[in-house]
Structure formats: structure tokens, C-alpha cells
Symmetry: C7
Subunit: 96 residues, 7 copies
């Protein structure tokens, strides 16, 4: 089974946060909107403009991203937690 | 009787969710907005731009889609539950 | 007396819903926004764009349509219940 | 004294609703937004677009119209109840 | 001291309403938004469009206007009550 | 230290209101949004349009302006109360 | 690990406010939205327009900025408090 997000939507798989001792990105527990890391599994073709063109996407399958916790709609695929969100809900790309 | 959605609206027939044991897409019961699967029965001609052009639709009759549970307006046609929603309420195409 | 809707407005006459046993479209009683069937009596000339052009209407007098129950403004003409609504409140054309 | 509405505004004089027995347009008492009939006394030059052009008005002085009861701002001119409203608050032209 | 309103703003001096017996414009006491008469003391250069042009103003210093009571921001200049409002808060020009 | 406002933002220093007996501009105590006088200390380069152009600013450093009391964000520079606000929060230029 | 903000987003590291006795910028404790100083660590490529162009960013890595306290989403990188915010949440550049 294959999910193809529409327009500027992106299918994202949650990534477990690393331990604080690893010196990585730590999300404060008290923050109202906690950003979380994920892996892009599939990206839509881009938002359609009035001129009939697709707006270029800034993320692609395989990218690791940071997004707001409450962004998107939750679905599960083969017992893994996934999200379908709009590209605009993605805060940043993570390069390791 | 035949329903032709206007502009960017889509007529969708709900599809029963598969069992979790089949390894398919499982919707968490507690999610606020549960995405649900459906079959596109008819798609409108596309949103009309100010220039008088129709914006291309990304779904067509026969497509299997995932959409937000509370999207659209419910109607019943011959005892089957249907929905009329905007294309923007569709999250992703499902290819099997 | 003759009513000519302005811009993208449409004058609609309600149509009594058919019995469920006729195998037609059944509206669930519990749905929050119940779509209802109607007959277009008159359609406006279309929305005026900034360029001074009229956007093409998708419905015309004589069409049978499905619309949201709470759409539009109710008026009565010769004891028949009518509505003036915007074209965007119309969900679909019904072809029989 | 002469009132010249600005842009897409229209000066409207309320018209007394006809009796139901005359077979005319009857407004249900219970409707939330009751449309009412009026006579256009003066129409503005039209909305100004970014290009410096005026958008064509669809009503002119002398037209009989139907509008939403709560539209516009009430004023009295020589003991007659008038309203200044935007053209978009007008539902339809009435031709008799 | 001289006030020059910015963009589409207008400096307006309130005008005392005439007595009802003079057959002029009477504002109903119970109306939620009472229009009031004023004299334009100064008008801005017009709203700036994205193309760097100014949109033409429809009022100029010296004009008598009718506006919504709660429009604009109150200031006093030499003990006279004035208002700075946007042109769009002006309902109509009054010609006497 | 030097503050350079971004886009259409303006750095403003509050100016003490003159005494009423001086015949200047008096702000009514009871007004909900009290306009206040200030001196422009620095103006941004103007809002960036989609075409990559800057929209012309209507105020510059040195101008005396009138603005809404609750506009902008308060900061203190060398014990003087300053504000960073958008140009659109400025009501008028004061020429003395 | 490297964070690359998307579109018009900016990664900002908070800067400790200087003491009041140093004559710098003092944020009033009682202000509803307290502006705070930060250092830009990374800036996105700019907002994408419908024409497929990027809008020029006004800040770059290394800039010291002033922003609203409640702007953006908090994250921690190597025990330092960071924020991902939109460029529009930045009030001004600070030049020292």
C-alpha cells in the first residue's frame, strides 16, 4: 500500500527523540507547541497556483525534519505512527 | 440518479476500514480528526479562477483516498453512506 | 413578479425529499448540515472580477441541485418556500 | 439635501411588505435573517480596484431590491426610513 | 499645528446634528451603529498599492460626510472634537 | 547601539502630551484607543512586495506622528520609552 | 547536527539581556509582549511566491535581532535555548 499526499501535503513518520545526554535537540516538556522530529516518507507535487503551476516543494522523501507536535493528521501504517501535514507545518530540515 | 459535484467538490463513498491484523492503515481511536478511506465516485470540473480557467483536479472517479472524518457533508445514495467534500479535504491518494 | 439574483447568487425552490423506499438520496436526520434538494429558478450573471468580467455560473434555471440546509436566505413566493443563496453553497447538480 | 454613497454603497428606502393575500413575496417571521424590499435612491460609483478602475454597479437609482434585514446602517431622511448598505448586501432585483 | 493623515485616513470634525423639525437627516437613538455627520478637515494621499501607486480618494477637505459613530479614533484639536478614520468608514457625501 | 526596524516597522519615541491650556491636541481620557504623539527615530525600508520591490514609507526619522496608544511593542532605550510599530498603526503626521 | 529553516523561517538563539546600568535596551517587566534579543543562527531561503521566486530575507546568520517574546517555537540545541520563528516576528536589527 502506497500513500501519495495531495498538493503541498507531506507524509511524515515520527522519529524517537534522542536522549539529552547525546547532546542533540531537546524539546522542553513545558513548551506549548513541542516541535518533534520526523522522516519524510512522501511529499505531494506542490500547491497548485491559479496559473496551473505547481509550487516547488522544499522537502522530499528521505528528509529528516522538525515540525510542530500538533501539526497534521495522525494515521498508522504497519504499526508505525505517521502524520499527513502541510509543508508549511514543517519548521526546518535537519542535516546530520 | 447521478450527482455531479460543482467546482472543486468531490463525491466520496466511505470504505470500511480493514482489520488491524491485515497490516493496513489503522486509525487511532483517540485522534481528534480521524482520517478515513473512501472511493471517489465523481469529481467536479475544478475551481474556477478569476481568469475563467478551471484548476486541475488531483483526483478522479475510481481513486481511493484518505480524508478527514469531519470533512464534507453526508448524504446517502441507495443506502450507501456518501460525502460531498472539497478536494482540499482530501489528504492523500492510496495506491494498492 | 420576477426576482433577478445579483452576481453569483441563485434563487432556489425547495424540492420535497423522496421516500427512502424509492431508492433515492436519503438525508440522515442526525447530520449537522443536512443537504437538501432544490430547483434553480433563476441564476445571477456571475461574480464580477476586478477586471470587470463575470465569472461563469455553473448552474442555470431549471437545474436540480443539492445544497446545505442552512445555506442562503429564506423567502416565500406565492406560498412556495424559496431561497436566495450563493452558487458556492450548492454542492452538486442532480441529473435524473 | 442630497446623499451620494461612496464606492459600492447604496442608499435604500424601505418598502412596506405587501399583504400575504396579494400573492406576493412573504417573509417568514421566524427566519433569522429576514430579507426586505427597498427602493434604491442612490448608488455609489462602484468599488475602486487596485488599477484605479471602478467596478460596475449592478443596481441604479429607481431599482426595487430585496436585501437582508440586518444589512447596512439606518438613517432617516424626511421621516422616511433609509439604509446605506454595500451592494453585496443586496440579494436580488425585483422586476414587476 | 497641522495634521496630515496617512494613506487612506481622513481627519474629520464632527458636525452637530440638526433638529428633527428642520426636516433633515435624523439618526434613530436606538440604532446600534449611529451614522453621524462631519466635515473633512484633511484627507490622506490615498492607499498605496503594490505597484507603488496611490488609490484615488473619494473625499477632500471641505466635504460634508456621513460616517458610522464608532468609526475612527477620537482626538481634540483646539477644543473641537475630531476623528481620524479610514475613508472606508465614510458612508456617503452630503450635498446641500 | 542602533535599532533598524524591518520592513514596514517604525521605531518611535513617545512625546509628552502638551498641556490643554496650550491649545494643542488633547486626548480624551475616556477614549478607548487613545492616540499619542511620538517622534520617529528610525523607519524600516518598506514592506516587500511579491515582485521583490519595497513599498514606499510615508514617514522618516525626525517626523512627529500621532498613533494609537496600544499600537506596537514597548522597549526602553537609555531610559526613554520607545515603541516598534507598523507604519499602518500611524494615524497622521503632525506639522508644526 | 545542522538545522535549515524552511521558507521565511529563522533559527534564533536567545541572548541574555544586559544589565540596566549598562545603558542598553531595557524591557519593561509589565509589558504584555516583551521583545527579546537574539542571534540569528540560520535563515531560510525566503518565502516562495506564486511565480516560483523566493522573497529576499532581511536577516542572515550572525545578525543580532529584537523579537517578540511569544514568537516562534522553542527548541534546545546543545543546552542552549533556541527558537524557530518567521521573519515577520522579528521587530528590528540591532547594530552595535
Amino acid at each position: 500500500m502506497n500513500l501519495k499526499p495531495l498538493h503541498d501535503r507531506v507524509l511524515v513518520q515520527r522519529v524517537e527523540e534522542e536522549e539529552k545526554t547525546k547532546g542533540g535537540i531537546i524539546i522542553p516538556e513545558t513548551a506549548k507547541e513541542k516541535p518533534i522530529r520526523g522522516k519524510v516518507k512522501a511529499a505531494g507535487p506542490g500547491k497548485l497556483t491559479d496559473d496551473g503551476k505547481r509550487m516547488e516543494m522544499s522537502v522530499k522523501a528521505g528528509d529528516t525534519i522538525m515540525f510542530n507536535k500538533y501539526a497534521g493528521t495522525e494515521i498508522q501504517i504497519e504499526d508505525e505512527e505517521h502524520l499527513v501535514m502541510r509543508e508549511d507545518d514543517i519548521l526546518a530540515l535537519i542535516e546530520e
